[in-house]
Symmetry: C3
Subunit: 346 residues, 3 copies
């Protein structure tokens, strides 16, 4: 059985001990199920009262929350994140895909495969591809000619990457995501559509995470870019020639139309849609299901269909909400005014 | 050629014959194309007149509809469903994947495979997986270590299931669906996101059906649960730690945010989105494209963006619809009032 | 190095030369990066001023735009499309999948494979399938028994096609798309859902393009049809028994409910949803994110949630936008009217 002192655990997550740092901890569990000898966490002060009933020996809590408890504490800025780090110390994740190339994988002889790379069963890697050191390509992935994957990446099962794309280091791509499919471009001539060749590519920078079954189209010419650290939830659609800045977050089922530029540290709620060829500024936030039909300035918070600045959107929503009563008030006004006019004309 | 008497067919679908039960039936077809000797159905009384022209020898109809026809009848509560059952008697579905393990499948020696299981070409099944009796795993599916599939399940091509998930009995999962991808969780520290490990799993209970290219994320800790009999249409997104009750139905492209609890016998229309951490009550119904931003009580019917109780939503929609005219009426009122004030001050 | 005279290039794209037709051109590039000896294009007259700075030797421009430049010109109706055609002359696309059947592909002995067909690694093709001449089936695709693919088709990696479907000629299907999954149909009996067998199929006609991770369900009975030349962007959902007419375009994440009929030359914006069993007329247009709850006549342009004719929708949106001010005006009216009533009753 693994054991750590409370002080050792605090150091691993950058926290401070309050109480007995020599206490031996042998496991981590949620507040309700933790046993003596285990550590738990309190992320939401509302659940403070659960602490008294918890059988845990120690608690991870933030710097501000006052807790009346006999438990030993680790104080840290994000108790939940700290707890999960400690949980993984006690319960390390199983190695699902050890380094090596599965005999059923089809790796082109002109592909360059780095050190300690893991390539699962039935993976297909094309001519001129490069896979960086320690990356893991799970079963069923397909990477077409000339695409490059950096170091320490994880491609979960059945990810597919079209030709000539670039994926940075430490990128995680979840099952079924598609990188580099053709952009949606057609030239209409006399009631018929001619396909506009999509000869660009996709660039995904370091530390990006892409959700399951997302689709990221290659550029018509040039590049569709997802910059460093950006995180996409599942089923997100990124059209051709879109650029997404660093450390931006998109919730599930967002759709970004062609050539739109999204800044850094932007947050888009679930099912948001944007028109093409606009800019969404740095640090902007867009509420769930909003329809963004024009540019959003830096740091603006917008919401609604169509998306409007949040204060305005809320005032409009409040007014819409009382609209049936407003109709009555207008009818009442008309009646009273008619009566006044009648009496005035008498 | 297969033949059944009308009486035999009625018994197979739990219906009652009106007319000659010894009539021999040799096929089933829609009302317009049925030939003599065949049976058809009338599901919608509006199409009653088509009956006179139909060459079918017998008709499946519900218990209430009065039909003036010389056809022999089978009366049953759901004529369409009854017809399809009879159609399948005459046209049994071809066996697409006979029991056996295809030689190209990669099944870990420590996986336990039940009796009469069918495993298609290029399937990958990891260490410690269990596949129950008579289940069919179509070509290209990938099931990672420690996941269990019950009995009589069907996984259509290219389904992928991450590690340690549980799928019950008689579950159908359509092409490309993803079970157990990481939940979308990141801890922000100084403008940078740190991935919160997603160490939970997904539980799918018996008789669930999951549409093509759906994504169901594993829990951060604990379980994302889809309870018995629930049906998801295509491209539905279920976030981490969501729980969906029994016999609930979600139309295509619905998105459920993290930790939301959905009751049993709920109906969600297409493209509905919900915020996280709310409860949608048992038997609740949510209209298509609605945005559910707060809890919905049991049996409530809600609609709109944001979702409101249906009667209120309809009154608001009606008022919005006459809004341009309301603006005119307000302008008119202002004019008349100004005139009155003028004359009063004269 | 490839070279063409300007006259040769003009003929290849159906344009007219203005200037020296014997000029030798050895490459094509965007306006900012083009070098002497290369050709560029001007699609948007707003960028006319960039021309003066461009080092390109020739420019493709439309018939109307007046340009004050010393460059040789090719005049053509769609300069961007013409440029891309010329770009591909200088930079022909690499052959990603040469004809031949990869040894790891599993092709049923009773499948009929045409001339010069390319079948990639780990592809699975079932009994009775037919693949037409020159079609390319990329790695990881799965085609179940009895489905037919026409000539000159491209199925990108990990496309799956269920049994008995038909795909025409020159069809392009992008990664991860699913054709022929079961329609979403259940008969409720006493709080429990019974699956309605989905025994129809999907027909995709010539020249259709289907985006990545789209899902197209088979009909309950009969056929789900996508007619000639229609283009679907990524993540589009087409339910059972839907019919989509010729040369119709759907942007990403559109969802069409069961049995709805969509005309020809229709345009649907991104994330549009429609109810089932309606008709959307020929040449109709639906704005992004709209919710179409009833039939749309031919050539109607609709928008909003619910979708309304565009002029009406815009007037309503304008009125909604001034709603907070309308509330104030009504309050003001009420105050003034009360004052008038007071003074009248004095």
């Amino acid at each position: 059985m693994k054991q750590f002192t409370l002080q050792e655990l605090a150091e691993k997550i950058g926290g401070q001990v309050e109480g007995d740092g020599s206490l031996l901890i042998s496991g981590a569990a949620p507040i309700d199920s933790a046993q003596p000898g285990q550590i738990t966490f309190l992320a939401n002060p509302r659940y403070r009262d659960h602490l008294h009933k918890s059988r845990a020996s120690a608690v991870i809590v933030d710097q501000k929350t006052t807790v009346e408890t006999s438990h030993a504490l680790i104080r840290v800025s994000d108790p939940y994140y700290g707890f999960l780090q400690i949980f993984l110390l006690f319960n390390p994740r199983k190695e699902l895909l050890p380094p090596g190339i599965h005999p059923t994988a089809v790796v082109h002889p002109e592909a360059r495969i780095g050190q300690e790379v893991a390539i699962g069963a039935h993976v297909v890697i094309g001519k001129g591809c490069r896979i960086g050191d320690r990356s893991k390509i799970f079963p069923g992935c397909v990477i077409l000619d000339g695409s490059e994957i950096g170091e320490d990446c994880t491609l979960y099962p059945l990810v597919s990457i079209r030709e000539e794309c670039r994926v940075g280091n430490r990128v995680i791509i979840h099952n079924g995501a598609v990188i580099g499919s053709d952009g949606f471009g057609f030239a209409p001539h006399g009631g018929v559509y001619h396909k506009i060749p999509q000869i660009g590519r996709v660039i995904i920078e370091d530390d990006v995470e892409i959700g399951a079954n997302c689709t990221i189209d290659r550029a018509t010419m040039g590049e569709t870019i997802i910059r460093r650290g950006t995180k996409l939830d599942n089923l997100v659609h990124i059209a051709h020639n879109v650029e997404v800045g660093e450390w931006t977050v998109m919730a599930a089922q967002v759709g970004i139309s062609g050539s739109t530029k999204i800044g850094h540290h932007v947050m888009l709620g679930g099912q948001v849609g944007t028109v093409g060829h606009i800019r969404i500024g740095d640090y902007a936030q867009v509420g769930a299901q909003s329809g963004v039909s024009k540019a959003v300035p830096d740091r603006e918070v917008v919401f609604g269909y169509p998306a409007r600045p949040i204060m305005r959107a809320k005032r409009i929503e409040a007014a819409v909400n009382q609209l049936p009563e407003l109709v009555k008030r207008i009818r009442e006004l008309e009646k009273k005014l008619a009566a006044l006019e009648d009496s005035a004309s008498d």
